[in-house]
Chain length 341, copies 2
């Protein structure tokens, strides 16, 4: 419990209490009670900004103290919590769904956007615009119950592998971010995902991967209808978008699902711009952070001109807005848990 | 900590751990660690059904054990957690908003549904149908930021009093339900409100009244738009319904906001029928409960023919569906916390 001594008094008490409880129930001290709550982060301004922010908002009696109920932290998913290159995982999944349904639709071979999807021509699909993308997403995502969809997602994730890393996608979560999420929760933050991705594509695995329960996942969603089928109460997924949780949609999603403005937001692309704006424009202590993908060797290097996860507005505005740019190359000692120490 | 001995082994361990932590931090034992976790409930089949259900789903190794992550419990608000007679509190609030705006709208005196609202003629307003009600609700609820709306709600609740009990509405929460919510949470349930009422009308006070945080409140909501106003990121409430969380909308709201089927649902009117259906049709142990308003002396007696909180389908189906009817008169020793013991 030496770790607790680094914390302000209130945090120390909580840390001791948490460690005692952990010892009581599991007989082993938790890693989050170790000396460094962020071992996969290199010492530097980004790590320091996180430690300082948590120290000041938990410092009871200090000028920047924030009540636990207001310690809301929101995280983008793709490119912020896990790899999004060379293509958003859900798009890879969607294309696989289309391939699976293709034998029943010979006409897709010559009809766009299906023809492009069948040969993984992401550029051509994206060139057709958002409507085209939504059309594709509806194919393998609707006309079934949420349970049936979830089973398809779970089965796919169990076998699909990332083309470069040759590992299941759920292993490609960023270890420094997992540590940060745990560190925030140990300091009585409530952590949420606020992603442009599909809410039902994420919920089956976020608890295991990030410790974030299903109801703390905010994302894009399709229409769902309640009906009796053969006398059985049933929810049916309909092929129509209900809400797009991206760009200016993110503050709206935050208001609707969480009901209060976060004090910390972490993103990586311009789809997170308004979430960062909304979060850091509030009164009192605020922290906005951006993962800057600068590591072509260990992960990917991209920002302004990327087809996926484009970061242009955020890069230009970060300094003026006081948002912390987290350089993957410089700030992260370790990116994935499977890397050797 | 004698209370812990009533619990199954796993629950006992948790109860001791919780009590120890409470003692450690507050130096006083919590009431929820007393001998009876539901002191405002009379002994009888309803109380027993709750105790038995919690015992079996927390009995690790037992046939009905449910993992804590799946212990989702949903509660209607009006008529289930607080008084809804003689009129839903939010309608009283809405009518007060219309009265406040009336001096600027002399035409309302002769235009329905406004004229009826100005003289609290609920029957006439309801007779005009749902569209008319929504029209009224938009008057005092839109064209402002969520923060501005919240302040109006908070100010109103601080002064408005119930016509019969002559007390602030937030004092009219049912003590047996507050105890049940605490009891469930002490047994690692996550408790949610799923109400036809406005999500932003409830969020300002549910934590204090019920221990339910803002993001665990599901309800009806209006459209919200993100925009820059004078360079400031702003959310603006728009005069259009986004989602009606009532009847068949409740299972949809549960899916969207919570993302999994509850194992326990508690309602009081036919607006909760589909939520109860959806909850209890799931596999494994399930519990559906209905508050039956049978106490004209201490609260109100109403069901089939009530204008507000009508219970007809639920009353007819309860026996067949195995839903527990909780009689306010017989099952509740105490209804409000301000009653003398």
């Amino acid at each position: 419990m030496a770790a607790c001594s680094n914390q302000p008094l209130a945090g120390r008490l909580r840390c001791w209490a948490a460690c005692s409880l952990l010892l009581l129930t599991a007989f082993t001290p938790s890693e989050s009670c170790g000396d460094d709550p962020l071992p996969s982060w290199n010492d530097g301004p980004a790590k320091q900004a996180i430690l300082d922010f948590v120290a000041k908002v938990t410092n009871e009696g200090g000028p920047d103290f924030v009540l636990p109920a207001d310690r809301i932290a929101t995280f983008d998913n793709d490119g912020t919590l896990w790899v999004e290159q060379p293509m958003y995982t859900q798009i890879v999944f969607a294309f696989d769904r289309i391939k699976a349904a293709a034998p029943d639709h010979p006409e897709w071979k010559t009809t766009e956007p299906f023809a492009a999807a069948l040969v993984n021509d992401y550029k051509a699909v994206f060139a057709e615009g958002e409507k085209s993308g939504v059309k594709l997403l509806m194919i393998g995502h609707a006309g079934m119950t949420p349970d049936a969809f979830e089973q398809i997602v779970v089965d796919w994730l169990a076998t699909a592998k990332h083309p470069r890393f040759d590992r299941p996608y759920t292993q490609l979560v960023y270890q420094p971010m997992v540590e940060m999420l745990e560190f925030l929760r140990a300091n009585e933050f409530k952590t949420f995902i606020v992603s442009g991705g599909g809410i039902d594509f994420m919920r089956p695995w976020t608890e295991k991967a990030y410790g974030i329960p299903r109801d703390q996942v905010v994302g894009s969603c399709i229409e769902v209808k309640f009906e009796l089928i053969d006398g059985q109460p049933t929810l049916m997924r309909l092929p129509a978008a209900n809400f797009v949780d991206d760009g200016p949609g993110k503050p709206v999603g935050i208001q609707r699902f969480i009901g209060q403005r976060p004090i910390l937001a972490f993103g990586n692309s311009d789809g997170d711009f308004e979430m960062l704006q909304w979060t850091t424009a509030g009164d009192g202590p605020r922290l906005g952070l951006i993962v800057h993908h600068t590591d072509a060797v260990r992960e990917y290097a991209y920002d302004r001109d990327s087809m996926v996860g484009q970061l242009k507005r955020g890069l230009d505005a970060a300094k003026q807005e006081g948002w912390v740019l987290v350089s993957m190359k410089d700030d992260w000692k370790k990116i994935f848990s499977f890397e050797e120490d």
